[in-house]
C-alpha cells in the first residue's frame, strides 16, 4: 500500500534518505522554558542589514517592546523577550565564534512577564505597503533556519502577482520536530496566517506541504481545512524536501529558473513557523519574541520541544532539559544536515534556531578519507543535478574559477553529497570553501 501510494506521490528528483531520529521528540508537546536572568539579542541575525538599537543602556523595557528598528529594507526589528532593563550594548560572542553587536537585557525578577492583550489589527483594510512594513516592524523572519526577513518576500513588484502560497511543513532535517509540533498544537493559527497571506497577496490557492512521516499532522490539517482553498500535500520523505526550490518541484512539478526567485513563478513559500508568527502579530499583536526549538540528539539528557524566548543562552535551554550527557562532543544549532556547531554555550537562541542538538563521538566522527572511486553516488544525491565530486576535486586543486564554470554557485550546500559519499570525502565542506573563496574575491 505504501509502495503503491508512493508511486503516485510527487517529489523532486535525487536527494537522500537520512535516518530520521525524530521519535525522541515527536510525541512531546511543546513546553515553555521559564524565564532566566539574562538575554542577549544580536543586532544581526540574518543576511542583510543589522537592526539599529533604539534603547539605551539602563533603560527599562517591557516584554515585546521594540529595542532595535530595521536598519534598512533588508532588515527587521528586534523586540525585548522579557520585561527588564538594558545592561549592555556591545560586542558579544556569536554562534560562529566571532563577536557581534548585541543588546544584553537583564530580566526583572519581580515582573509577571504577562503581555497586555492587543486588539486584532485590521490587516484587510491595510494598503499592501503598510502590511509589509507591519511585518518588518514585527521582526518576522523565515523560521525554517535561514531567517531571511519575511517582509522582503511580501514586497511583490507591480509587474508580478502571487498565485500560490506554499506553506513549508516538510521538516526534512533529521531530529527536528518543532514544525511538526507547531502544526499539531497550533493548526488554527497556521490556517489563520495562511489565510491572511492569501488574502493580502491575492493568491488563489494555498498548499501546506508536509512529509508523510507526519500522518497525524496531515490528518489534523485536512480535517480542519475541508472545503477551503487551502490543501495539504502529503510528500514522500526525502531530504532536502524543505529546501524552497525542492518543495516547489515536489508540490507543483515546476522548477525555479537559475538566478530567479519563486515569486517569478507566482509562488510564495513560507515556513509554518513564519505563518504562525504572521497570525500572532496581526491577531494578537505579539511580535517575534520567542520560537519553538527542538532539543535532541544522543547527548541531550531529556530531549524536548520548547518555546524559548529569543536571546535565551543555549546553556540555560540545555540546563532546563537536564543538561548534556558526558559523552557530548559537539552542540549543533539547527538540523544535523545543514546546522552549524556552536562556538560557545553562552550564545543565545536566535530567530533562526530551529534545533539545539547534542552530538557524541558517533555523530561527529569523520571516517577515514579514501580517494574518489567515481561511483556517482554524489551525483545521484544532488537535488540540483550538479557534479559534487567534480567540485570537490577542483576545490582541492584550488581551481575555484573553473568550478564556478560548472555552476558551483547553484549549490545550496544541503550536504546530500557528503552524506552519500562512500569514500568519506567532505564534499560539501570543500564546496563551502570554494564558494567562500569566490565570494571574498569579489571587489
Amino acid at each position: 500500500m505504501s509502495l503503491l501510494s508512493s508511486l503516485f506521490q510527487h517529489s523532486f528528483s535525487h536527494g537522500v534518505h537520512p535516518e530520521g531520529y525524530k521519535e525522541a521528540t515527536v510525541d512531546l508537546p511543546i513546553q515553555r522554558v521559564p524565564f532566566v536572568s539574562r538575554y542577549l539579542m544580536p543586532l544581526g541575525q540574518h543576511i542583510g542589514v543589522p537592526a539599529r538599537p533604539v534603547v539605551k543602556v539602563g533603560q527599562q523595557l517591557r516584554r515585546g517592546q521594540m529595542i532595535a528598528e530595521p536598519g534598512g529594507f533588508m532588515s527587521t526589528a528586534l523586540h525585548s523577550p522579557v520585561t527588564g532593563k538594558v545592561v549592555d550594548i556591545g560586542p558579544h560572542r556569536h554562534q560562529d565564534g566571532s563577536f557581534k553587536l548585541a543588546i544584553e537585557i537583564e530580566a526583572d525578577p519581580y515582573a509577571t512577564q504577562r503581555m497586555e492583550p492587543q486588539p486584532p489589527k485590521d490587516w484587510e483594510a491595510m494598503p499592501m505597503a503598510e502590511f509589509v512594513s507591519e511585518v518588518q516592524r514585527a521582526g518576522i523572519v523565515g523560521m525554517g533556519g535561514a531567517a531571511f526577513p519575511a517582509h522582503v518576500k511580501y514586497s511583490i513588484p507591480d509587474t508580478q502577482h502571487i498565485d500560490e502560497v506554499l506553506v513549508n511543513g516538510a521538516e526534512c532535517e533529521p531530529y527536528l520536530t518543532n514544525d511538526h509540533r507547531l502544526m499539531m498544537e497550533r493548526p488554527e493559527a497556521l490556517i489563520r496566517g495562511t489565510e491572511i497571506l492569501m488574502r493580502k497577496l491575492g493568491a488563489r490557492r494555498a498548499t501546506i506541504g508536509v512529509e508523510d512521516n507526519k500522518p497525524d499532522a496531515i490528518a489534523l490539517l485536512r480535517g480542519l481545512l475541508g472545503g477551503t482553498a487551502i490543501e495539504v500535500a502529503s510528500l514522500p520523505m526525502k531530504y532536502p524536501q524543505g529546501a524552497e526550490k525542492m518543495l516547489i518541484k515536489a508540490v507543483y512539478d515546476r522548477e525555479v529558473p537559475a538566478g530567479q526567485l519563486p515569486r517569478d513563478l507566482g509562488i510564495l513559500v513560507n515556513n509554518v513557523g513564519t505563518v504562525v508568527a504572521i497570525a500572532d502579530w496581526f491577531d494578537r499583536g505579539i511580535p517575534l519574541i520567542e520560537r519553538v526549538v527542538t532539543v535532541s540528539g544522543p547527548g541531550a539528557a531529556y530531549p524536548a520541544n520548547l518555546i524559548v524566548p529569543l536571546g535565551t543562552p543555549v546553556r540555560e535551554v540545555l540546563r532546563f532539559c537536564g543538561g548534556l550527557k558526558e559523552e557530548t562532543r559537539e552542540v549543533v544549532m539547527g538540523g544535523p544536515m545543514m546546522g552549524a556547531p556552536t562556538a560557545s554555550l553562552d550564545v543565545p537562541v536566535l530567530k533562526g534556531t530551529s534545533g539545539i542538538l547534542a552530538f557524541t563521538e558517533a555523530e561527529t566522527r569523520t571516517g577515514t578519507e579514501y580517494p574518489c572511486i567515481r561511483c556517482g553516488r554524489c551525483l545521484e544525491a544532488c537535488p540540483y543535478f550538479l557534479n559534487p565530486s567534480r567540485f570537490a576535486r577542483l576545490a582541492k586543486a584550488r581551481l575555484f574559477e573553473e568550478a564556478k564554470g560548472f555552476h558551483l554557485m547553484d549549490c545550496v550546500e544541503c550536504g546530500s553529497c557528503t552524506f552519500a559519499c562512500p569514500s568519506n570525502i567532505p564534499i560539501v565542506q570543500l564546496i563551502r570553501t570554494a564558494k567562500n573563496n569566490l565570494r571574498s574575491r569579489k571587489p
Binding site: A258, G339, R377, F419, P426, V428
Partner: protein, 361 residues
C-alpha cells in the same frame, strides 16, 4: 580526551564505504565463482588462489613504493576484487605464472601507475586480460571441458598441482573449444549455424554454464543472479548492464533474423562468453565508467555493440575485454558531454525562463 575534530555539517552519513562496496561486489561474484571452481576442479582453485594472493602482494608492493599507508589501502578491498575479476576471466587450467603476471599487470600497470584507487582510466582486470591474451595467446586460449570436483574425469589434488604448477600437459587431453570459439571456427569454414550448433551444448547448458570456458564466466545465470543483487543493493545502476546486453542482443537479433544460417542468435550471444560478467561486473566498474545516467546508457550500448562487432567480424571469438577498454577510453569524453540537466537550467546550462522554456538570448 581526544583531539577535537574540526568538522561541519552534515552530521549524518549513509551506511556506505569503499570496502563495503567492494565487499558487496565480491559477495555477488561468489555463486558464479564457486560454481566455476567446482566445475573446473583443483587446477582452477589453485589458479584462483595464486591470482588473488599475487594481486594483494602487487598492491602492497606498489603502495610501499609510493609511500602510501599499506594497511589502510589494502583494507579497501579493491586489489582483491581486481585479482578476483581477472581470475574469473582466465582459462581455468592456465599455469600459475599466468595468474601472477596477470595480477601484476592489473595492479601495477592497470591501476597503481595511474595513481592508485580511483585514478585509473582502464579497468585493471581487463588491462591484464588483454595484455595476457596478446602476449601468451596459447595459454589464454586453451580451454577445458568441465570436469567437476570429485567426478571420475576430474584431476585429483596432486594432478591439479601438476596442471597449475608442474607444466603437466594433461590439458592437451581434455582441451576443448568454447562455444564462441567453436562458432567462430565452424561458421568461418562456411558451415551453417545449424551444422555448427551440433558441436556446442544446448542453450540451457550455455546459460547454466556446463561448457568449456573461462574460470568464472561460464554460468550466465549465476552471474545474472549476482548482478541483480548488486542492482538491488544499489552498488551499480541498471543502466550499463541493460544497455550493454541490449547493445549486444539487438544487432544479434537483426542479423540472425536476416540471415539465420550465418549469424549466431541473440540468446546464445547473451549467455556465452564474458557477456554477462562483462555487463554486470566489468563494464560497471565504478572508476572507469561514466558517472551520469545518460552517459552510462551510451557507455553500455557502446560496449555491447563492440562486443558484437568483435565476436562476429574480428579475429577473436570473444571481445568483451577489448570492447570495455575501448569504451573506458571514451569515458572522460562521455562525462564531459553527457552531463545531466541542472535544476532550473537547460541542457546547455542556461537558466530556464519562467514558463520552463529556454531563454532566447
Amino acid at each position: 580526551m581526544k583531539e577535537p575534530t574540526l568538522i561541519a555539517a552534515p552530521y549524518s552519513h549513509a551506511k556506505t564505504s569503499v570496502s563495503r562496496t567492494m565487499g558487496l561486489v565480491m559477495l555477488a561474484l561468489l555463486p558464479a565463482t564457486l560454481f566455476g571452481l567446482y566445475q573446473f576442479g583443483w587446477p582452477a582453485i589453485f589458479l584462483f588462489t595464486v591470482t588473488l594472493i599475487s594481486a594483494v602482494a602487487a598492491e602492497a608492493f606498489s603502495l610501499r613504493l609510493a609511500g602510501k599507508p599499506v594497511g589502510l589501502f589494502l583494507k579497501d578491498g579493491s586489489a582483491l576484487l581486481s585479482g578476483w575479476l581477472l581470475a574469473m576471466t582466465l582459462p581455468p587450467w592456465a599455469p600459475w605464472w599466468i595468474g601472477v603476471i596477470g595480477a601484476f599487470l592489473a595492479i601495477v600497470v592497470g591501476k597503481q601507475i595511474f595513481g592508485g584507487l580511483g585514478q585509473n582510466l582502464f579497468n585493471p582486470a581487463m588491462v591484464a586480460r588483454v595484455a595476457l591474451l596478446i602476449s601468451f595467446p596459447l595459454e589464454l586460449t586453451l580451454f577445458t571441458a568441465p570436469s567437476p570436483l570429485f567426478s571420475a574425469s576430474a584431476p585429483g589434488f596432486l594432478e591439479g598441482l601438476a596442471v597449475t604448477f608442474g607444466g603437466s600437459n594433461a590439458i592437451d587431453a581434455v582441451a576443448s573449444a568454447t562455444p564462441l570459439g567453436h562458432f567462430k571456427t565452424e561458421l568461418g569454414r562456411g558451415l551453417t549455424l545449424g551444422q555448427a550448433s551440433e558441436g556446442t551444448g544446448s542453450l540451457w547448458q550455455l546459460a547454466w554454464g556446463q561448457i568449456p570456458g573461462s574460470l568464472g564466466e561460464t554460468s550466465a545465470l549465476l552471474i545474472l543472479l549476482g548482478g541483480l543483487f548488486l542492482i538491488h543493493k544499489k552498488v551499480i545502476g541498471w543502466h550499463i548492464p541493460l544497455a550493454m546486453l541490449a547493445g549486444l542482443a539487438l544487432p544479434a537479433a537483426l542479423f540472425h533474423g536476416l540471415y539465420p544460417g550465418q549469424y549466431v542468435g541473440p540468446l546464445t550471444h547473451l549467455v556465452s562468453g564474458a557477456a554477462m560478467l562483462g555487463a554486470f561486473f566489468i563494464a560497471t566498474d565504478l572508476v572507469t565508467s561514466p558517472v551520469s545516467r545518460s552517459g552510462q546508457l551510451l557507455f553500455g550500448a557502446g560496449c555491447g555493440l563492440l562486443v558484437y562487432v568483435i565476436r562476429t567480424w574480428a579475429g577473436y571469438p570473444e571481445g568483451v575485454a577489448f570492447a570495455v577498454m575501448l569504451m573506458n577510453a571514451c569515458t572522460p569524453l562521455i562525462d564531459h558531454y553527457l552531463r545531466p540537466r541542472i535544476y532550473g537550467r537547460d541542457r546547455r546550462g542556461e537558466p530556464l525562463n519562467t514558463d520552463g522554456k529556454r531563454e532566447n538570448t
